[in-house]
């Protein structure tokens, strides 16, 4: 079978290319004076058109109580549910029988930011945060220990609530 070429039928009689060209030139020129969409990132982090969603799931934050201690009771639910297996928890117990985490580490490289830890936490202690500027100079710095998790100050994520799907 011979190779055939599909020839498109173009409207040869009905189009004015000169006029189309000038229209195009005018259009691009008018765009010079239109408002720009660029957000100048390090200075501006949100604009009136765009802000980071309050449901953004970023690096974790551990909430603390009035004495500044982590709210965590080392129940072990978060390492249990974590699909990426990135939470390391060694529980301890004081003289009054209160459980607290001896070691609580989250490997942010392994984390898939699913937010299950926040969802499962009975004490509302561990949270994923509305935060995305995480760069470090060493790989080791990406394992956040308890002290660092407590020291984070960024807002925590608002997880989706099935009983209130629109967040009202």
């Amino acid at each position: 079978m011979p190779i055939t070429v599909k020839v498109l039928r173009r409207p040869t009689g009905g189009t004015s290319y000169l006029r189309a060209m000038f229209k195009g030139m005018l259009l691009t020129f008018s765009h010079i004076f239109r408002p720009k969409v660029t957000m100048q990132y390090p200075e501006e982090k949100s604009s009136k058109d765009w802000t980071l969603s309050s449901r953004w799931r970023g690096t974790h934050r551990m909430l603390t109580d009035e004495q500044g201690r982590a709210k965590c009771v080392a129940c072990g639910l978060c390492p249990q549910i974590c699909p990426a297996n990135c939470i390391k928890l060694v529980p301890g117990e004081d003289e009054q029988g209160n459980r607290y985490p001896l070691i609580y580490e989250i490997d942010e490289f392994r984390c898939v930011f699913c937010g299950y830890c926040q969802e499962v936490c009975p004490e509302e202690a561990i949270h994923v945060g509305v935060h995305y500027e995480n760069s470090e100079f060493e790989r080791g710095r990406f394992v956040y220990d308890l002290e660092r998790l407590c020291a984070q100050t960024h807002p925590v994520s608002t997880l989706w609530d099935p009983s209130d799907p629109k967040g009202e």
């Binding site: 004015s16 030139m25 259009l27 010079i32």
Partner: protein, 389 residues
């Protein structure tokens, strides 16, 4: 003699620096204008308004690794950027960029080399640039680069003829090939600018100039969508950068040439500065500013067109060059030569406003059928066919 040597060396350095800085700023302008046309901001981080961006780019290009394809023809590969870069700069040498500078040792013409055959020199040198591109494409030993080089040579040869023909009309009117004489002939009223008596020549010239400088819509040698990057696909670091500098200096030269040949060069409209008596320093500076402003308008046009129009298909490019531009230039030359003979020698008119207007009328009379053919019978029709009710 000593004065001539020193003045020439100073002019050489000044012009070289001006072109290099101009080219650098042009890359910045290109990116800024492109960004603005696409509702972005463009480079604005390095220095005020991002003006130092070209310096940052240059630094990056210098410290980047140079790569040499294993199968490339080594010496030709190295030579090609220089071969494309040098003619681009050489051409500017004969373009006058201001009224003569009046110093206490005598008047210094503001042109690097005031050649009496300036125009022929431009025609000779400007076509040399294609060698760099062809050599680059061939020596890279890369099929895309070779295709880019082939396209460049075919394209430049096709449009060079039309370009030369269109400028012959200017020479007919000036009666001289010295660019300073061409500027002098256009001095006085705006009507004397060659754009009016020779509008169609300008049309042919600008289309050919776009093709000569390999810019959109004629940028087939580098056509990134089909040829990766065309002839400079294998080049890296400063050698790559030199192709860019060559492209932009070609643009500067072509724009300066358009300003000189068709828009009165450095002459300020409605004055005779620089022709009658020695100009003052202020007058010299103003003429320089006027020249650079005119050149800048064309540079902006280059950028504007680049970010508006799509690229030609290769066969369209060739048929435009050989079937439209070349015959048009030939016919136009014949008509305009006849018209000049008729008005000047037969009717005995002087080269004045009446003469320019008469030639302008001839141009308009020619332009209407031309646009009718080019535009397929629709000069002012809608750009899209109206649906029949």
């Amino acid at each position: 003699m000593t004065f001539f040597l020193i003045a020439s060396i100073i002019k050489l350095l000044v012009v070289f620096t001006l072109i290099m800085v101009g080219v650098a700023l042009l890359t910045w302008l290109e990116r800024r204008v492109c960004a603005l046309m696409q509702d972005r901001l463009g480079p604005n981080r390095v220095g005020p308004f991002g003006l130092l961006q070209p310096a940052a780019d240059g630094l990056k290009n210098i410290i980047k690794e140079e790569t040499y394809p294993a199968t490339a023809d080594f010496w030709t590969f190295i030579l090609a950027p220089a071969v494309s870069f040098t003619p681009a700069l050489l051409t500017f040498a004969v373009i006058p960029f201001g009224a003569p500078l009046n110093t206490k040792w005598g008047d210094v013409p503001l042109v690097v080399a005031d050649l009496p055959v300036g125009f022929l020199y431009i025609l000779a040198i400007s076509s040399l640039g294609v060698y760099g591109i062809v050599l680059a494409g061939w020596s890279s030993n890369n099929k895309y680069a070779l295709l880019g080089g082939l396209r460049a040579s075919a394209q430049l040869i096709s449009y060079e003829i039309a370009m030369g023909m269109s400028t012959v009309a200017v020479l007919l009117l000036a009666g001289n090939v010295s660019l300073n004489q061409i500027v002098a002939q256009q001095q006085g009223s705006i009507i004397h600018w060659n754009i009016f008596p020779l509008s169609l020549a300008f049309f042919i010239f600008i289309v050919s100039a776009f093709a000569e400088t390999n810019r959109v819509p004629f940028d087939l040698p580098e056509a990134e969508a089909e040829l990766v990057a065309g002839y400079h696909a294998e080049y890296s670091s400063m050698k790559f950068s030199m192709f860019y500098i060559a492209e932009y200096s070609n643009m500067v030269t072509a724009s300066a040439l358009m300003a000189t040949l068709f828009f009165g060069g450095w002459s300020v409209p409605f004055t005779t500065w620089g022709q009658s008596g020695s100009p003052t320093l202020i007058q010299t500076l103003v003429t320089m500013a006027v020249f650079f402003a005119k050149t800048f308008c064309f540079l902006f046009l280059y950028i504007w067109v680049r970010w508006t129009l799509p690229r030609f298909r290769y066969d369209q490019l060739m048929s435009l060059g050989w079937k439209v531009m070349l015959p048009l230039a030939l016919v136009y030359l014949t008509v305009i030569a006849t018209a000049i003979w008729f008005f000047h020698d037969f009717l005995g008119w002087a080269y004045d406003t009446r003469f320019s207007l008469a030639l302008f009328a001839v141009n308009v009379a020619l332009a209407i059928p031309l646009l009718f053919v080019l535009d397929r019978g629709h000069i002012v029709a809608g750009s899209v066919e109206r649906r029949r009710a």
